[in-house]
């Protein structure tokens, strides 16, 4: 029986350096809405509306929020599956915001993506080995068949899959194993950043832990590997991330460390989100504060003026509907965008 470190070492020890890997400044992604006879643009879905973020090398940033808050869109902008309509994304010192697909292609091996649905994200007509090896072929990382096979085999072992299963097809694997294949594919190009878009939410409870542990092991094994962990499940994000950014309607409302977030949530939305998560502990549940938000998330087509949360906020003052709050650094690695705080 091997001894296991009870807790993951903090970022500073794990990361190769603490310099900034990804620098996002005021990122905007507005999708046009076309209607009418001539499909004229009648409005915009402001999926991401001014997100500013920095991710250090080797750091894991959790991006949490409810559906439609823009967290997936942020991920897709970073991996340039979408071309942002505003702002700037710098990856490793290079501005990638408006690179053409051709220019960006060589950089793709540095930023890979793990998708949510382990069923839809693997080509059903490709063998597991060929799915995992695809990036090697695309980026011409290997010279001959043998190197290729060795590399793919190593990847299989790395994610806990038997290399003998390389010739099998996705439908022959269980959900958890499929997600491992997806992870192996994401690792193939030896990326510096992996964007995990809800990597465990489609899996069974008992399988989720396997995948989370695997992702944590990979982070410890490769120095400098960073994650953007997008999820709606706050407990998973809190467990996994070095810092957590809470998103609401296209903007980040609070960004801090997991401990601070739980002990000292400052934004009213973060508080509501925390209270909505149930803890498997009946006695604790009986005493926890339950904040039930009024109404629904407004449409990102016509977001409310000022602070987009003001209409549902118990602390709102008239000022909140006029001024857009910006993220304020309160020290202790804690930033929050609320007029009533700080």
């Amino acid at each position: 029986m091997t001894t296991v470190p009870e807790t993951t070492p903090p970022v500073s020890e794990r990361a190769a350096s603490t310099d900034v890997l990804l620098d996002i400044d005021c990122l905007k992604m507005h999708f046009p809405i076309r209607r009418g006879l001539l499909r004229r643009k009648v409005g915009e879905v402001k999926a991401v509306d001014g997100v500013t973020l920095k991710i250090r090398r080797g750091e894991t940033l959790g991006l949490v929020g409810e559906s439609g808050c823009g967290k997936t869109t942020v991920g897709r902008c970073i991996s340039r599956l979408y071309t942002p309509t505003g702002g700037r994304i710098c990856f490793d010192g290079v501005d990638i915001t408006s690179m053409s697909e051709k220019e960006f292609r060589p950089l793709r091996r540095n930023i890979s993506v793990i998708f949510q649905d382990p069923y839809a994200s693997l080509d059903p007509r490709q063998s597991a080995g060929s799915i995992v090896g695809e990036p090697l072929k695309v980026h011409k990382l290997v010279e001959n068949k043998r190197d290729y096979n060795d590399w793919v085999e190593r990847l299989f072992v790395k994610v806990g899959l038997d290399p003998n299963l390389m010739s099998r097809f996705p439908h022959e694997f269980s959900g958890g194993q499929r997600q491992r294949i997806g992870i192996a594919r994401a690792l193939a190009g030896e990326p510096k950043l992996i964007i995990c878009d809800e990597p465990v939410s489609a899996l069974d409870v008992s399988i989720q832990a396997q995948i989370i542990n695997l992702l944590m092991d990979l982070r410890e094994g490769a120095s400098g590997l960073g994650y953007i962990f997008i999820a709606h499940d706050l407990s998973v994000v809190k467990h996994f991330s070095d810092r957590i950014a809470v998103m609401y309607l296209g903007r980040i409302v609070e960004i801090t460390t997991p401990g601070e977030l739980y002990d000292n949530p400052l934004h009213p939305y973060t508080r509501a989100l925390l209270s909505a998560v149930c803890v498997p502990d009946p006695d604790l549940e009986a005493t926890r504060e339950r904040i039930v938000l009024e109404g629904e998330v407004p449409s990102p087509v016509n977001p409310p003026s000022g602070c987009t949360f003001h209409a549902r906020c118990v602390n709102a003052i008239p000022e909140c509907s006029k001024t857009v709050p910006v993220l304020k650094d309160l020290g202790n690695d804690h930033e929050v965008a609320c007029l009533r705080v700080g």
């Binding site: 409810e66 989720q208 832990a209 709606h232 467990h239 509501a272 909505a276 549940e285 009986a286 339950r290």
Partner: protein, 341 residues
């Protein structure tokens, strides 16, 4: 903050539903899937019962079997469902007796708010049809009542929204409509099959509270089917844990969470990250994958994934539910001495 009964509160029990040795199977190409394999449980009046398990463990099928709504190729092949002195399985699925119970005495709220409402009928029509059927209301009365119901589940300008179609509602709003339909005839019992799984965190919280207060309002019992341990910890009085078509552990809420005895229950509790714990605890996953339910061996279905399995587990068939300490606390395991730390 809330006037709801806290979980685990002790209340006098008047039995409402008793399910005895229920068996449902699906005959498919590859063989027979015993989706529900001898499940027994009870629900008391005004009680909140949680049924917890992973996908494919038979928790939904068992509930559909109670309502006799299992689809082809599924068939209920054995067991009894006692409700108000009648064994419901004696009635044919489409019999008048069964129809009088469905929607009126026992109603069901389904998982998928996006697909559970008929896209070509107005919300009003879908709400009024059970009112007209079970409560004998006229069209006009039913419409007035439907508007009240919509209002009570928190849908603004309810009267005018009666004529809207489901696609004009958001997911959360549709689930509110489903709740309104569920409690329309003031049923004795509501079965909620993963009612909030498809929804967002804060919407989930909104809807669970709403559902509970609505059911409280009509003095009904609730069977809450879910995979989320946190939800049952917050709301359920009693909990049944299901695995591979059987109940593996049952008991009061606190017994399940503080004194779990089945290795599966223990595994589940250890494998989920918790909001209140220190960051970075290494999760202890349950190894392997849930079993394929076709032609299961007679031994314990959890055996291949079990960390404490002993010789007896490999040789003898799946054990019966054994009572343990605590009121009604039972588990289906030979190794309970090992799990009883």
């Amino acid at each position: 903050m809330n006037a709801l009964p806290t979980a685990c509160e002790v209340r006098p029990a008047v039995e409402l539903l008793r399910v005895d040795n229920l068996q449902t199977e699906f005959r498919v190409e590859e063989g027979v899937v015993r989706a529900v394999n001898g499940v027994s449980y009870t629900v008391d009046e005004r009680e909140i019962v949680g049924i917890v398990g992973e996908s494919g463990c038979g928790k939904s099928v068992s509930q559909l079997s109670v309502m006799q709504l299992v689809r082809n190729p599924g068939r209920i092949v054995g067991g009894e469902v006692w409700f108000e002195g009648h064994n419901l399985l004696k009635y044919r699925a489409s019999s008048p007796q069964m129809r009088e119970i469905r929607g009126a005495k026992i109603s069901m709220i389904f998982q998928e708010p996006m697909t559970s409402l008929n896209p070509v009928l107005t919300i009003g029509r879908q709400l009024t049809e059970s009112l007209e059927l079970h409560l004998g209301m006229t069209k006009k009365e039913a419409r007035a009542r439907a508007a009240e119901l919509l209002d009570s589940v928190g849908i603004p300008s309810a009267q005018s929204r009666l004529d809207d179609y489901p696609h004009q509602f958001s997911g959360g709003m549709r689930q509110r409509v489903m709740i309104a339909i569920g409690v329309a005839c003031r049923p004795k019992m509501v079965i909620a099959d993963e009612p909030t799984t498809a929804l967002d965190c804060t919407t989930q919280a909104q809807l669970l509270e709403l559902m509970l207060s609505s059911i409280e309002g009509c003095q009904g019992a609730l069977v809450l089917v879910t995979h989320n341990l946190g939800v049952v910890a917050r709301y359920a009085h009693r909990i049944y844990i299901m695995y591979a078509g059987r109940i593996v552990e049952q008991g009061l809420c606190r017994d399940i969470f503080y004194r779990p005895r089945h290795p599966y229950t223990i595994g589940l509790l250890k494998s989920v990250p918790r909001l209140d714990e220190e960051r970075g605890r290494r999760l202890v996953p349950i190894d392997g994958t849930p079993p394929n339910l076709i032609d299961l061996p007679p031994t314990c279905a959890f055996l291949p994934r079990c960390a404490v399995a002993g010789e007896r587990c490999r040789l003898e068939p799946w054990p019966e539910l054994e009572p343990i300490d605590g009121e009604g606390h039972m588990a289906r395991c030979y190794m309970m001495e090992a799990t009883g730390e």
